[in-house]
Assembly symmetry: C2
Homo-oligomer: 152 residues x 2
DNA sequence: ATGCTTGTTGCAAGCGGATTTCATTTGGAG
DNA sequence: CTCCAAATGAAATCCGCTTGCAACAAGCAT
């Protein structure tokens, strides 16, 4: 049973420590937020959640931690097609298997989809183009089932 | 034979006129730049080219024209994975057939790739998720054949 | 435990892409 | 030609993000 107030060291934290990255109080908070997020968060949302846990945390630290995680390939950065004119980026823990993001242009809902076909597509690209894929970003905008059912 | 100095009305221009959009001198210039671009341009590059043709053109007009084209689904907006820390967006005339963008993380080259597999993937999504796809954005970062051949 | 070294943090200032506001101009229908 | 809704340009502004720097702390060696 984990002690109250003591977060179980998440995978992100373990991964960073294994790579010799110094672990600070602020980083632990930010990593925990990203690990336990139920939806895609942008830097501003991560900052707000982090400040709820520790009001002293600065947005610079959030940006630097996100940059660190990107450099280590532990998070993916998304635009989600700038839904609603947003220009901020969204972040998610890099999944073991790539997935496609579908953004409903009407209700704003984000859906994810994994497909064997996508894995085959990547394999085709690596073979036919001699291109070694390091990171993928697949975003599709459109209209979800619910929205298509409703009158305009 | 087209008259010198008289650009043949491009497809973008014809498309906009057909939709009842007012055609101005500035828009004609910007549309022509996008149509004849040999590589992906960002708003700043479009502005510079436009000002070479007409120094009075303001960046606001470029942004508004790009926004208009996006609204009409005539151009696609890309991030190209913010290569080199760039935060600007790139634009291309919407192709008749979607394609995948590959960005080399070392030399910055952008490659494009069309695939029947991608068409099948889209069909699968529309069927399995009941999601009507309006726009796609597929960007992959990695290392191109030339860069992989060279020593680090 | 203690001290040291180096990476990290917070604050303030700054950067750059994109947008808003509003007075002026202009396309193009009648 | 006239007219007016739509488009433009100029300045100011917004907003996400980055940089410079002094103070601080992680974690290794002792």
């Amino acid at each position: 049973m984990p002690m109250p107030g003591t977060a179980a060291p998440g995978r992100l934290q373990a991964e960073l420590i294994a790579r010799g990255v110094r672990m600070t109080r602020q980083r632990r908070i930010i990593l925990e937020i990203i690990e336990s997020a139920s939806k895609h968060l942008d830097a501003g949302a991560i900052l707000r959640k982090a400040q709820a846990a520790d009001p002293g945390i600065d947005r610079v630290t959030v940006y630097r931690t996100l940059s660190l995680l990107k450099r280590h390939g532990l998070v993916d950065e998304l635009d989600l097609l700038h839904l609603g004119g947003q220009s901020a980026h969204f972040y998610e823990r890099r999944p073991s298997r790539d997935h496609i993001h579908m953004a409903c242009l009407r209700c704003g809902k984000i859906m994810e989809f994994e497909s064997q076909l996508f894995e085959r597509l990547k394999a085709q690209i690596q073979r036919d183009c001699q291109f070694h894929i390091a990171v993928t970003r697949v975003e599709m905008g459109g209209y979800c089932a619910e929205c298509r059912r409703q009158p305009l």
